[in-house]
């Protein structure tokens, strides 16, 4: 996870160009250094760690990183591949060799159609940002049923929480099956009432991502809403 919310109580919002420090620390993500000074390059929250300074962005596009788990949507079907939208600026083709089924040439449509939702892993991203994705790993599959919501990719770490605490709590409290993609797409399946509660909780996390004591607040909200339903 990017930040530890318990240790930090000063959450300073910085704007591109703000001077963060004059030091020899490493300029982490969201910053850049020039002439021994470190400046913010993105709108976000300043985070100081012993060896580096970084900015946790409050907005921004998803940039694919090798190893990320993402929720994708099929947007085009070719003879030997599917084109998947993973909410990034770059298209990502999913080749038939990368799916868990044996697919004959030209029979891609029998397996997945346009609009289907898939859980994928990013296998490689080269310097030209060409992306390879795969569905051949434990737990990766086509997702049927449920619904997909989108949050800002920069808020994904908060939805997951420290060591998965937030998402675990969400799953327990709502009895829903939830997959959170690093690209900001979240797939939820369960009973309708529970889905509604989970979505509201996630929206709440997104809106208040920069506040402290979020897990407690969300838990309180979920408990309250489950009592109301019963």
């Amino acid at each position: 996870m990017l930040t530890s919310d318990s240790k930090e109580n000063t959450r300073e919002i910085v704007v591109p160009g703000d001077l963060l420090a004059i030091s020899s620390k490493k300029a982490g993500p969201g910053t850049y250094s020039q002439g021994g000074k470190i400046f913010a390059s993105q709108l976000g929250i300043k985070t100081v760690r012993p060896d580096s300074i970084s900015v946790v962005p409050l907005a921004g596009r998803y940039l694919p990183v090798t190893g990320d788990l993402v929720v994708g949507k099929i947007v085009d079907v070719g003879a030997s591949n599917w084109l998947v939208d993973i909410n990034s600026p770059y298209p990502s083709p999913l080749h038939v060799n990368e799916v868990p089924w044996r697919v004959e040439f030209g029979e891609t449509r029998k397996f997945m159609q346009v609009g289907d939702i898939v859980l994928l892993k990013i296998v490689a991203v080269d310097e030209l940002k060409r992306i390879s994705v795969s569905m051949q790993d434990h737990g990766l599959r086509k997702l049927t049923g449920g619904m997909v919501i989108e949050v800002s990719p920069s808020k994904v770490p908060r939805v997951i929480g420290k060591n998965g605490s937030m998402i675990q709590m969400l799953k327990n409290e709502t009895a829903c099956r939830i997959y959170v993609g690093q690209n900001g797409r979240i797939w939820i399946d369960g009973e309708l009432d529970n889905i509604v509660r989970a979505v509201q909780a996630i929206k709440m996390i997104e809106d208040e991502a920069h506040n402290l004591g979020l897990t407690e607040k969300v838990k309180e909200f979920l408990e309250k809403s489950s009592n109301k339903g019963a």
Partner: protein
């Protein structure tokens, strides 16, 4: 330039301008970030009687494809004046002037954005002038850079912009409509405060080099003030957000409709 009504006094006996400002006074500036829900980033600027909206989309796949650059992003900008933004209806659509402003704005913004982070993409900036009263390219550039930061685009710094000019043989800051129409010169400046760089500089009219230096100095000082307003707008977007989110939360009935 001429053509001024003979009874129009752009600067009165007390050294006040037509709208009561001192020569080195800027019009009131108000900026709000994050005003459009569906854009990745947006900003609204009210600068005197100017009203300008800017929206940023991307980085996203670059279309048309032949424009994309294999090792950096393209900052594409479109400046557009609404047909109702001026007294006489402006014929809608791009014209020579808006092409020029689009070009200089995208060049100014390209200078501060870390374009090398997003190869093959384009970052699209749309500037819509809703109400014009001279100085819309400065207002547009100011709004666009706030919108870019609001979209989370990595950039070296914000670009602040302001104009200076010569009116009734006096160097003045931030020309209004009458001053622009009947004045002698106009110098819009785009400035990167942290690095002290100028990323936009034009001149319309004639000035001596001393007058030019004075005007440039005035504009740069004003840009520093504009910069503070820009930064404040971006910080306010997140610090004042708590209260605003209540209404943004989807109601339970809306959710049900969507799920079914």
């Amino acid at each position: 330039m001429g053509g001024a009504p003979t009874d129009l006094k752009l600067i009165d006996e007390n050294g006040r301008r037509i709208d009561g400002r001192r020569p080195d006074e800027m019009r009131p500036l108000k900026i709000e970030a994050g005003v459009l829900k569906r854009a990745d980033g947006s900003a609204y600027v009210e600068w005197g009687l100017n009203k300008v909206m800017a929206a940023v989309y991307g980085p996203r796949e670059c279309h048309p494809r032949h424009l994309q650059n294999p090792d950096r992003a393209l900052v594409q900008c479109r400046y557009n004046m609404a047909s109702f933004s001026v007294d006489d209806r402006k014929r809608p659509g791009p014209d020579r002037r808006s092409h020029e402003i689009s070009k200089i704005t995208s060049e100014a913004l390209t200078h501060v954005v870390f374009t090398e982070y997003f190869p093959r993409t384009s970052i699209d900036v749309y500037i819509e002038v809703l109400q014009a009263n001279a100085g819309t390219r400065c207002a547009g550039l100011t709004a666009a850079s706030v919108a870019l930061a609001d979209a989370g685009v990595p950039m070296r710094d914000l670009v602040a912009s302001c104009a200076a000019g010569k009116v009734a043989d006096t160097m003045v800051l931030d020309l209004g409509k009458e001053e622009d129409n009947f004045g002698q010169a106009d110098i819009p400046v785009g400035y990167v405060p942290r690095a002290g760089e100028i990323v936009l500089l034009q001149m319309d009219g004639d000035l001596t080099s001393e007058e030019f230096d004075k005007g440039l100095h005035m504009a740069v000082e004003a840009c520093k003030k504009v910069y503070e307003v820009q930064r404040d707008a971006l910080r306010r977007r997140y610090t004042a957000k708590g209260a605003a989110t209540e209404t943004a939360m989807p109601s339970e009935t809306d959710m049900r409709k969507e799920a079914v």
